[in-house]
């Protein structure tokens, strides 16, 4: 068990945790938050698995690091977009939850409220 493996397992657990929050929580905002948790877990697993190959006198492999940086930025852009959508949904319908038992309840388009 070394540092890489430890954080790799941590990342795997975070993926499970984020997925659980994404599935079970009905509020869009909390779903977005859980999705970010899931994403950061994926980055961690990716970073750790590719770190094994670190060679050429480096602490880590620069290629996956650059990819993770790009991924974090894209995740932020997607989060901003998702939050704007959730806020607009609330403005139009007055609802801050997605009800799992009532599929018709949240599909009312803007303007019906």
């Amino acid at each position: 068990m070394n540092t890489g493996m430890l954080f790799g397992l941590c990342g795997a657990a975070l993926v499970g945790l984020g997925l659980y929050g994404l599935v079970t929580n009905p509020e869009p905002l909390r779903k977005i938050l859980a999705f970010n948790l899931l994403g950061s877990g994926v980055f961690l697993v990716f970073g750790v698995i590719s770190k094994r190959a670190a060679a050429a006198g480096l602490g880590g492999d620069p290629v996956p690091q650059a990819m993770v940086i790009t991924a974090i930025v894209v995740a932020f852009a997607a989060t901003a977009m998702a939050i704007a959508l959730a806020l607009r949904l609330f403005e139009e319908t007055g609802q801050a939850t997605l009800s799992p038992d009532d599929p018709g309840g949240t599909s009312t388009d803007g303007g019906n409220s």
Partner: protein, 313 residues
């Protein structure tokens, strides 16, 4: 078993604990605060994995910027009626077991690696000297995978367009509302006068040093954006109207110059996004400088959200 290993174990436990609390706490506000702490802890984990560039990005964007966006959303949703529509216990159990299975599968992949893990690191180091850069991550971002970096900037701009187009018709061309964060008070005003001079220097330094050491356009741009947002939230400066020509120019100038240099590569170096030999570093630094400006403005406007009111003339 060294002392640093026990530090790592403690850090991993903390990350998992804080991560769990973002999922299970009832109040959305508490969850967002936990998420910001989680982002900072994760940044330390990246440092432990010797990925300092990733750590800076995670702390600035993953924790800070995303946290601010979520806080703003929580404040705007404060009046929303929260219905108790939690899933039933058996459904939660099924979901929990399935998610645990996914995590276990990933853990197996971590514990049982393939015999040979492919890597491009030696090739990166072999050819890095030609570009004049000292930071291999910057080398990958701006030389080997420059197309990814260019398209990533375009994604940020597209997301901003998406956020803006969610504004109601009446607010189009107006300015984003930041009043939701805080009523301006003397402490906030003092902070907004004290921090920006320091923050702007740090942001520019991070951009400049990115060619040689960890840092770069994104990390620097995020710090600059944070300073801009601080000044706007404190009410010292009004947010710009989204139809302002200067705003739009500064948003597109970074990707536009990057693209122009990329196209010039056809003529000067026989390939798209290739740099003529000997001039690689000055060109990359020039691209990084304009990109930092565009990124700072784009991140700031993304965090500020869609326009809410039209400026009174």
């Amino acid at each position: 078993m060294t002392i640093s290993f026990f530090f790592d174990v403690g850090l991993a436990v903390l990350i998992l604990g804080v991560g769990t609390s973002t999922i299970i706490v009832r109040s959305a506000f508490a969850a967002v605060i936990a998420f910001v702490v989680y982002g900072l802890l994760l940044a330390i984990a990246w440092v432990r994995l010797s990925a300092v560039d990733v750590a800076l990005t995670e702390a600035a964007i993953g924790g800070g910027m995303t946290g601010m966006l979520l806080l703003g959303a929580v404040a705007r949703l404060r009046l929303a009626k929260v219905e108790e529509t939690r899933m039933s216990l058996p459904a939660c159990l099924v979901a929990g077991v399935s998610c645990a299975l996914v995590a276990a599968g990933l853990a197996t992949a971590v514990l049982l690696p393939p015999a040979v893990v492919p890597t491009l690191a030696p090739m990166v180091m072999e050819n890095l000297a030609q570009s004049g850069l000292g930071n291999p991550v910057a080398g990958v971002l701006f030389v080997y995978r420059a197309l990814d970096t260019l398209l990533e900037k375009v994604v940020v701009l597209l997301a901003l367009l998406g956020v803006w187009s969610l504004a109601p018709d009446s607010a189009w061309g107006g300015m984003p509302g930041l009043r939701v964060y805080a009523q301006p008070n003397s402490t906030l005003t003092f902070l907004a006068q004290l921090m920006p001079p320091l923050g702007i220097v740090v942001g520019i330094y991070m951009c400049w040093v990115g060619a040689k050491d960890p840092g770069g356009a994104f990390q620097g741009g995020a710090v600059l954006a944070a300073m801009w947002l601080l000044v706007m939230i404190a009410g010292l400066e009004r947010p710009p109207s989204i139809s302002h020509p200067w705003l739009r120019l500064s948003l597109v100038i970074g990707p536009a110059i990057f693209l122009a240099i990329g196209l010039a590569g056809f003529v000067l170096a026989n390939a798209f996004l290739a740099y003529p030999s000997g001039y690689a570093k000055p060109m990359i630094v020039a691209v990084e400088v304009v990109l930092t400006l565009s990124i700072a403005v784009a991140l700031g406007m993304l965090a500020a959200g869609p326009p809410e009111r039209v400026r009174q003339q």
